[in-house]
């Protein structure tokens, strides 16, 4: 029996494969004989397709098929995880820059590309005005992104509002000491997983197999099956570990098209997007947030009135869920006696926005946390103190009827305050900022796991979680190792193949350690129960006299290993024990605005120190402190990695990241050169992660989910720090040198 490793930073499983280049990502797989697919997309967001001329393209040697909308069934097969609104190929007109109008399949990639170029050059189109901003989407004279005919029975059909919600509680106050009313903007940003999306599909005797680095294999299976009218069992998803996901590989993109092509052509097909195409395939929802916050003289929040307008793109993808979930909890981790949130998901001729680390919360936090910082300044209250006064205590409900505060959030705030030396004097040109982030975690969802105890005592774990860098394999091995008394090197995890692993809702919402972790824990308990029955039969003693502990079975005063019990129980024919575990959380609730309470809150305090160069507007984050309430860090180094990675990504949208669209809806900064994102040169010289561990989460050993916290509130912390130096609160991200410089210049003009 080995010592368990819970709470220890054991080495990452899969590290060796990754440092040697042996790890196979989807684009590294051979797929012999597969046809290469090239999508044909055009040079504007919204174009009416008059005629696709493909005869010349079809004559390119090696081209096997060119598919356009007319070739598809009528009505056009559509797909989507929430609303089946996205066509396999652009239907009549393109609705975003990058929406394919045709798909070429050829024996070589060169041939496919050459044909695609010819089609692009010879297509007859008519340019139509696109809707690319929140204001345009809301303007009643703007064109409709989705016509009323495609939204039957929808009272909002005839507008560009895809869905709207009103959340809130309490009654509006009669009076307040201070009311702040401001508007904030959050840009479109892209996931930029370093691995571009890659897909393959092949017909086989049972149906179709799809390879995709998807985060949610069972969502993909469901969506493809629905789109192609196949039984789930005939759609097999193989999901190699993603080279980064961040939400961008969560929801189906071109897999339904590939599956259709594979079935129609009777051949395997493959498609590896370029980085530029990946930019056009997924993005974060941009937002305009109008916030009206009322405070008493002590800085206590009296009310928050938020209008959250999220620009979700041309099709719903999972955008509806992003908007509703983030808006529901948009008031943050504060006692808010009166809350009123009006949220809208707006259609536009832009890339369908999707899940992206934080799931809409960074957008809302930017507004709410900045409001709080402004109130503190006006009221002369310290920014830490105003938060302390408004934070609920553990166990206190802050959204009526919902999951109460489930952690010692004040402890995280205090830890960050100490670590950043909040009260120490600042040097010239330096400022500090602090903010809190709170995200509603996974609600009603399900994870199943299978654990097999093999005859020699080694263990196989089967789980549909995708290990995309968060370290799921490592943590799952630690859990199974703890429960069965097996060292992680005798545990092998199989993931990402729906033909092999049992159902899991998704790898999202920081849910896997909690949900899948619990499922594995319970599968191990199932194994122990079976061992007990096996031992009772083998040694002919009553079950209740047998105790099964991790790695040991106590029978009639003897301590036996699992292997001894398996040998004695199964004898020469051998065998194994198969344990099944499941976690469904607290379940679906039809009366809850989100269909269920969050199982836990993800809470993070971020504090930064910045240096601002007033001459250039360059903001340099010199110190960054993160304090997260994680319940229990099963592998602390991996948790810290996730927190730091999320914060680094947050520095991106705080300081530099932004997709820039022209009037045609084209993204002008596609690719790594023109789209700036953090590199080694942008890392804070000092980066400190603090984990608050009170073992008070619903996951194994008291764990909560982690991995998104670091990105939630960082923009507001940076914004406040920049304000402290410059005297200007900028309300539009990112805080680029130009924007900061202009704000400083404007401030000087106003002041002089």
């Amino acid at each position: 029996m080995s010592e368990h490793t819970i709470g220890q930073s054991i080495p990452r499983i899969g590290a060796r494969e990754r440092v040697t280049g042996a790890q196979k990502y989807t684009a590294d797989l051979p797929f012999p004989g597969a046809l290469h697919v090239q999508l044909v997309h055009l040079d504007a967001a919204r174009l009416a397709i008059r005629r696709v001329n493909r005869d010349e393209a079809a004559r390119v040697p090696g081209v096997v098929a060119i598919l356009i909308a007319e070739d598809l069934p009528d009505p056009m097969p559509r797909f989507g995880p929430a609303v089946a609104d996205r066509p396999l190929l652009a239907d009549g007109e393109t609705r975003f820059f990058g929406e394919p109008v045709a798909a070429v399949a050829a024996e070589t990639l060169d041939a496919a590309r050459q044909a695609a170029t010819l089609i692009r050059e010879q297509i007859e189109v008519e340019e139509l005005p696109p809707v690319i901003t929140v204001e345009q989407a809301l303007d009643p004279v703007s064109p409709l992104v989705q016509g009323p005919e495609s939204r039957p029975g929808d009272p909002l059909a005839g507008t560009n509002i895809l869905r709207e919600w009103t959340f809130g509680w309490g009654t509006a106050p009669d009076q307040a000491h201070l009311v702040i009313e401001r508007e904030y903007r959050f840009p479109m940003v892209t996931h930029f997983a370093i691995e571009p999306h890659a897909f393959a599909a092949a017909p086989d005797e049972s149906g179709v197999t799809i390879w995709s680095p998807t985060q949610h294999p069972f969502v993909l299976q469901r969506v493809v099956a629905a789109c192609l009218a196949l039984p789930l069992a005939r759609v097999r998803i193989v999901a190699p570990d993603p080279g980064g996901g961040f939400g961008g590989k969560g929801w189906p993109k071109f897999e339904p098209l590939l599956a259709y092509m594979a079935l129609r052509l009777g051949r395997a097909v493959r498609l590896v997007l370029t980085l530029e195409e990946s930019f056009q395939a997924a993005r974060r929802t941009s937002a305009r947030i109008q916030a009206r916050s009322a405070f008493d003289r002590d800085g206590r929040i009296i009310s928050q009135d938020l209008r959250t307008d999220f620009l979700v793109g041309a099709y719903a993808d999972i955008g509806i869920r992003v908007v509703s979930k983030a808006s529901y909890a948009a008031c943050g981790p504060y006692r808010t006696p009166h809350a009123s949130v009006h949220a809208r998901a707006l259609l536009s001729h832009t890339t369908p926005s999707t899940a992206f680390r934080g799931f809409g919360t960074p957008q809302a936090s930017w507004a709410v946390e900045s409001q709080l910082n402004e109130a503190a300044r006006i009221l002369g209250i310290d920014a830490v103190e105003i938060r302390r006064r408004n934070l609920p205590r553990k166990g206190e409900a802050f959204i009526p009827g919902d999951t109460p505060a489930d952690g010692d959030w004040g402890a995280a705030l205090a830890a960050a305050e100490r670590s950043i030396d909040w009260h120490a004097p600042l040097g010239p040109g330096r400022g500090r900022g602090i903010s809190l982030g709170l995200k509603s975690s996974s609600t009603a969802s399900a994870s199943l796991a299978i654990v097999r105890l093999l005859f020699d005592g080694s263990v196989s774990v089967f789980s549909a979680t995708s290990d995309m860098g968060q370290g799921a394999r490592t943590v799952f091995a630690q859990i199974a190792g703890r429960e069965l008394g097996v060292s992680p090197d005798r545990i092998v995890l199989t993931m990402g193949d729906t033909a092999v692993v049992p159902f899991d809702s998704s790898t999202s919402a920081s849910r896997s350690t909690v949900f899948m972790g619990n499922a594995i824990l319970r599968a191990c308990a199932d194994i122990r129960a079976q061992l007990r029955r096996l031992a009772a039969r083998a040694y002919d003693v009553p079950e209740e006299t047998i105790a099964v502990e991790p790695g040991a079975v106590r029978v009639a005063g003897r301590e036996l290993t699992y292997v001894e019990v398996l040998r004695d129980g199964f004898g020469p024919p051998r065998g194994e024990l198969v344990g099944v575990g499941e976690d469904r959380g607290s379940g679906f609730r039809a009366d809850h605005p989100l269909g269920g309470r969050p199982e836990f809150w993800e809470f993070m305090c971020s504090a930064v120190e910045v240096e601002v160069d007033a001459e250039t507007g360059v903001v340099d984050v010199t110190r960054l402190v993160l304090a997260s309430d994680v319940g229990k860090a099963l592998n602390p180094r991996q948790v810290e990695a996730q927190d730091e990675g999320a914060a680094t990504m947050g520095l991106g949208h705080s300081l530099m990241e932004e997709l820039i669209l022209d009037e045609c809806g084209r993204v002008r900064n596609l690719g790594a050169l023109d789209y700036r994102l953090p590199t080694t040169m942008n890392m804070p010289g000092e980066l400190h992660s603090i984990l608050i561990e009170n073992e008070d989460g619903p996951g194994p050993y008291g764990a909560k989910g982690a991995g998104e916290g670091g990105i939630l509130g960082i923009a507001a912390a940076v914004g406040a720090a920049v304000q402290q130096v410059t005297g200007v609160q900028i309300r539009e991200l990112p805080l680029t040198p130009e924007r900061v410089w202009r704000a400083i210049a404007q401030n000087r003009r106003d002041g002089s």
Binding site: R12, A27, R59, L228, D241, M468, T679, M681
Partner: protein, 203 residues
């Protein structure tokens, strides 16, 4: 291909017929396919394949490739060496970094034909059997990776840096690795890993 189904089941309309007609029949008539005229299509532009000899990880590779083929493509697509990754394919993200005569290069932006006669190393040539290169070992020890897709490039850039400057300052590490992007945000661990490596011989 167009098929109507009288069942009013919204988006599922006609799927049954659609599958009946598509799942098994292969190429349908309306999909334009190359016919007899295939050979009369536009000619392939550029010269054909030429022999290219590369020395990769100490082994001689004799390839027949077009002159326009990049070093990355030559290794990934013609030599089954997929350890180096294609991220941006534009010489900006660094996932494809290899060492050519000890110098880190973006192999996606280097023509294979240009680096004949030079010593090419990629991540797959670093380990000595089961013994990892000290830089690979340091990345494991410091957990300097998450998804791992950028790791082969970072490791090669780090080896290149350490062979040039065996004991780099933090600033030298920052600058030396600025050509590589890690979207997971493991930069600080990479700094730790590279700082911890001892005994890389000057190249």
């Amino acid at each position: 291909m167009a098929s109507k189904d009288d069942s009013p089941d919204g988006v599922n309309l006609s799927r049954r017929n659609f599958l009946k007609s598509t799942g098994v029949v292969g190429i349908a008539a309306t999909v334009v396919s190359p016919g007899e005229a295939a050979q009369s299509g536009p000619p392939v532009v550029g010269p054909g394949e030429v022999p290219v000899r590369l020395n990769v990880n100490g082994r001689q590779l004799n390839l027949s490739i077009e002159p326009r083929v990049t070093l990355l493509d030559a290794l990934r697509m013609r030599a089954d060496l997929t350890g180096s990754k294609r991220g941006c394919d534009r010489g900006a993200c660094g996932a494809c970094t290899m060492l050519v005569d000890g110098r880190p290069v973006y192999s996606c932006s280097t023509l294979a034909i240009e680096v004949q006669g030079k010593q090419i190393r990629n991540v797959e040539g670093l380990a000595n059997g089961n013994t990892l290169h000290p830089v690979q070992q340091a990345f494991c020890d410091k957990d300097a990776l998450m998804c791992g897709f950028c790791t082969p490039g970072f490791i090669m850039a780090s080896v290149g840096l350490l062979e040039k400057i065996p004991n780099p300052t933090p600033e030298q590490i920052r600058k030396g690795l600025d050509g590589n992007i890690c979207r997971c945000g493991t930069f600080n661990r990479i700094f730790e890993a590279v700082s911890s490596v001892k005994g890389v011989r000057r190249g």
